[in-house]
Symmetry: C2
Subunit: 269 residues, 2 copies
């Protein structure tokens, strides 16, 4: 391989890195724009990572962003206010006990939330209640089962499986992305459309190698090491071999693939 | 699920089915257009499935389509002539012993060929020799390891693994799609760019369910049943369970995902 990458070396490199970061945000969010004056519920805003993009992309929509964790809501509020956005209100609230009247919102947005829920279908039913007839729901989820890479490594899949098993033990589903079509259909949304958003990473995309392969995906799997060992899901040597294999995919001849799924549906009139 | 699909029921349905077929061809080929008068080598044309699309999309380019199997070349010639294309010549020839002078072609196109070769890197080197400096190579390959679906099924992965193992035993690599970046880079092409082309299928896309999930992918896996049993790769009951599970993904609440990879590179001046 004849490529050497030095991050942030000059202005042109910095511009390219920013472009690649923007490309990942665009990949998931660029086609979500809400019209002026529309009322949008963001359910499960966490610390506001997606809220920032929502607020920026639809500056004339009115967002209400909720999360069950008060600390997350506080962090999200601080982040969004620091960025100067004035079109978001925040509230601590439980998805399964929404403190809103029926048909309150023009649109609902849910990102990286259903994967953590034991009853995603019930969550969709609750959100549908507060959505106006004719309003849309947008759901974005990842799918860890969509992960593959070069060089291939059985140990890496074993390490990833630990994360999937731990999330399942907690009632969640780390592979929920592929299920968005049946879930929204079963929740009786209509005009359900799913589009996969694949993240493809090779060394011609150095920022994605660093920010996605290493610092997002591999770091996430590394983060379950103690829990996985404690739960007896894997031995330490095998887990560490898997992590090394994931880092190996970030080298010059490596390739890493992961797919997010984005679904939209409409509440029947 | 409240959807019932009847194929070919009326003109509007037929139009939609044709649109979906075109969508799959477009997904792989729409961004390959060769300028008027350019000389293009299609290496490994098989029975001409891709040749038809090449000839139609670049009517003013001159194609030379080769295959090592004389019977395939004859079938491809018949198919392309029947479609009325006049811009393709055919020749029986071996990729590893090309009967062409160095720097003979403006562009090279290779689709679903490298996966069958024990020495894909050597094949790329041979193709590079007959390509003019500054000319491009385009490579398209699938990757069976990119397959996942809902409902999930370990038996289905076992059945797919039989195809992968049989292809490997024959010297090939059914998971080569993800390796196009390192392969073209190692063959010293420059400006290597890979773009994945994911086929996402749910029951809102009935033609893809039928033509891709059932008749392309599942039929291909079903086709290795005897060879897989003979090779002792799997038991009959487990294989058949896997095939049933693949058909299950084609039902109304099923989802099927597969990714092709398309790479382009340039021969240095």
């Amino acid at each position: 391989m004849n490529q050497e990458y030095v991050h942030g070396y000059d202005r042109r490199a910095n511009t390219r890195l920013q472009d690649q970061h923007d490309a990942l945000v665009d990949l998931l969010h660029s086609d979500t724009r809400y019209p002026e004056g529309s009322r949008v519920l963001e359910a499960g805003c966490g610390v506001g990572a997606q809220t920032l993009t929502l607020a920026r992309n639809s500056p004339h929509a009115q967002f209400l962003s909720i999360d069950v964790a008060a600390a997350s809501v506080a962090a999200a509020r601080q982040k969004v206010e620091a960025a100067g956005h004035r079109n978001v209100r925040f509230q601590q609230a439980d998805l399964f006990a929404l403190p809103f009247a029926r048909d309150s919102f023009d649109h609902v947005f849910v990102c990286f939330v259903l994967e953590h829920l034991a009853r995603p279908l019930e969550a969709l039913a609750r959100l549908k209640e507060v959505l106006k007839p004719g309003g849309t729901i947008t759901v974005i989820e990842g799918d860890h089962g969509s992960t593959y890479f070069h060089p291939d490594s059985a140990a890496a899949y074993d390490a990833i499986r630990c994360q999937v098993e731990l999330q399942r033990a907690g009632g969640g589903n780390a592979n929920i992305g592929r299920e968005l079509y049946p879930l929204l259909s079963k929740a009786a949304f209509q005009e359900v459309r799913v589009s996969p958003r694949m993240v493809y990473v090779d060394s011609s995309r150095p920022h994605l190698v660093e920010m996605f392969t290493r610092r997002t995906f591999t770091a996430m799997i590394e983060g379950v090491r103690e829990a996985a060992l404690r739960a007896g899901l894997i031995g330490a040597a095998r887990f560490d071999e898997g992590i090394r294999a994931l880092h190996r995919t970030a080298e010059a001849d490596g390739v890493f693939c992961y797919t997010f799924f984005k679904a939209t549906g409409e509440k029947p009139e």
